[in-house]
Symmetry: C2
Subunit: 411 residues, 2 copies
């Protein structure tokens, strides 16, 4: 697997653009990703009972369409809790984009346009602004790195940096590429899906294989991150595959499936980790690995409970080796383990320190612990027993800045 520059346009045959259409004050707020030809596709969506209108639209396309051509994304307004009007607006967005693409010789129907929205909840979309924006954004679709970057910028809300990744793997003698972009950075506690993440690939994969693979990958990537414990109404991951690499069809029985799968998961995990790295107000990136658990699900449950704990996150903000809070969060995770057999250690570029051995506290050098925890990337390793289960979760600290951002988000 080779890591490439670029993002959503890295795979052959994908065009993109991102513009400022006026939903946000000055920043880019409308993105479009289009394939030159039809794509098999897969989606994973929020488990929140309150689903934004575009989520319902995309879910219906996943159920009914064999292929799609484009994804239209706006930031600055989530089109969630907007009633009937919200659904009509989403359909209009798809129709307007299909119409405009067809005028530019990228013949598309409304049912081939996936739609995503992110931003404030409960405010109707200003459709005249979006309509004008759609007319403009289709003019400059390009397959360049710059166009991918523009699109990655346009999907951001409180994000402080764009999140892009691309890789290449060989399928037979053909190079296949997988690229993607994502946005965070609050209301992040994905469950079965997450925030917005978009992946394109020029591999030839069936819709069924793609959906199964996405389901598997989501469990180990987005579902293992948390910024604030709030599962959004708009979480969406979409994958488009347009087969333009010329590589043969791959599926679960292909000899190259494992390396494709590895590359695919790499892309999702890289984007998921970028999201917590850029969590609202985050100053620290925290990786929690649990080993020796009964099974993988149990290890993942323990790890995720730790990165989701407000008290653990606040302790990391203060670079405080308050390991009791880690054990406490493991204790209420719902996963079974024996507290009397836990080994716990912290590590970072500054070294590693054990704080608990076989459930017994160890007198440790507080100064050394502080120097380890003051780093921007800190690892926690909990060995809970001798089982085969391993899991890793990623999170960030809880800072004054998180409270500031969310105390006055709408203004």
């Amino acid at each position: 697997m080779k890591i490439l520059e670029g993002g959503i346009t890295a795979a052959t045959g994908f065009l993109a653009n991102g513009i400022a259409c006026g939903l946000k004050k000055r920043k880019k707020d409308l993105a479009l990703v289009v394939s030159e030809g039809p794509c098999t596709f897969a989606g994973s969506f929020t488990t929140n009972l309150v689903k934004a209108a575009p989520v319902l639209w995309d879910q219906s396309l996943v159920r009914t369409q064999e292929t799609v051509r484009a994804i239209l994304i706006n930031s600055g307004n989530a089109n969630a809790c907007t009633g009937e009007q919200g659904s009509r607006d989403t359909r209009s967005m798809a129709s307007l984009a299909a119409l405009s693409l067809t005028e530019r010789n990228l013949g598309t129907t409304a049912n081939e346009v996936l739609v995503c929205s992110t931003g404030v909840i409960g405010v109707p979309l200003p459709m005249e602004i979006i309509e004008k924006g759609i007319g403009q954004i289709t003019k400059n679709l390009k397959a360049t790195k710059e166009a991918a970057f523009d699109a990655a910028q346009a999907i951001c809300t409180t994000d402080t940096f764009t999140k892009e990744v691309a890789v290449e793997v060989m399928i037979g003698d053909k190079a296949v590429r997988i690229g993607g972009m994502a946005k965070g950075s609050g209301m992040i506690h994905p469950n079965m899906a997450t925030m917005l993440s978009f992946i394109t690939t020029d591999a030839k994969v069936s819709k069924k294989s793609l959906q199964a693979l996405l389901g598997e990958s989501v469990v180990d990537s987005y579902n293992m991150i948390s910024v604030d414990g709030d599962t959004s109404t708009n979480d969406t991951v979409l994958v488009l595959a347009n087969a333009q690499s010329g590589a043969p069809l791959i599926h679960e029985e292909s000899p190259e499936w494992d390396s494709f799968k590895e590359a695919f998961l790499f892309v999702h995990t890289a984007l998921a980790k970028a999201i917590v790295r850029d969590g609202e107000g985050a100053g620290k990136f925290i990786e929690v690995t649990v080993t020796g658990a009964m099974d993988k699900a149990s290890a993942q449950g323990l790890a995720r409970s730790v990165v989701s704990s407000n008290l653990v996150k606040a302790a990391f903000f203060g670079s405080d080796a308050n390991w009791g809070r880690i054990l406490c969060a493991m204790g209420y995770s719902g996963s079974a383990f024996d507290p009397n057999t836990v080994d716990l250690s912290f590590s970072s570029e500054k070294g590693s320190i054990d704080v608990l051995l076989g459930g017994q506290p160890i007198a440790f050098d507080e100064k050394k612990a502080k120097s380890i925890l003051l780093e921007r990337e800190v690892m926690v390793h909990a060995k809970v027993g001798d089982g085969p289960g391993t899991g890793t979760a990623w999170g960030c600290d809880l800072s004054y800045e998180y409270v500031r951002i969310n105390g006055d988000y709408r203004s």
Copy 2:
């Protein structure tokens, strides 16, 4: 039901004291509550898999003892994650207290002394300090309001005020009293029990009736509050009943059971509400009532999810009428409801404002909303349908101060 002054000594025959024995720098840190005669008792404990040594001790007494005499509580050290030593230390605390009480003509055995600890996790108890403290605290046990206040002070950690309550109800022609004290104020997301809360009553109730009543009351009081989503390792509610009112035995079939039950729940709810009012860093008290749900459990689940959401809490910190976050939190609560039939309103002493009607956003006066939300006590009412289920939860805002307190708790 009459509300009285005082707390843990309001019921006849209960003595208390609270002293500074040296676990904390200057503040009181050791409390003792003793009954002049044997008490039936009940306990409810944390569901965290990681249980502090005193929790395990109290649970074993609930299983094996018919009556107890005293509760010894220290703050400043949770005696959690302290291994074998922790269990030995808890047993020593009970033995030392029993010995010292016997010397003072309050003949007690170790198995009649419940023990609670609260404070930092993972540090062994300094037993020589506690031993000295126990010798001292038994000297000045009194049935006064002042003694109750001393005890209520001694169980506090980051609490900014003491939490006491007492009421009186008539059982036959006898006045029966129920009094209590509690402490918060971080690691508060109780599940089946909570933080530390102690109730005494001079009613005559069997152990079995008392335990059943406590189980019921906990569901509607402590289990409906959240400060930070972290379920502690030490949560404990203990109730002692010494029968000294002279009132006849009451049980589920007694005519006065309902008024006793009402008074009992009132005491628990008052303490639970005091805990969130004093949540770490809290500037606002938030009450969320859900009506029209399928059933009570479903309404309670929705209400509790709202008060537990970091994003909702941060919006209250900013007095921001960001109702979308409330709907989002209801959506991931796990309770079923139809988002398209929700009415939502905010209210406070400054008035009331509707923001959502039948799932449709209402254009509302932002200035009026701000003035309502700027109050220290804010109510949210969500009517989710036409079902009979109603539930209320209590929470607080998420502030800079919460992050500051927990970024450096151990120092």
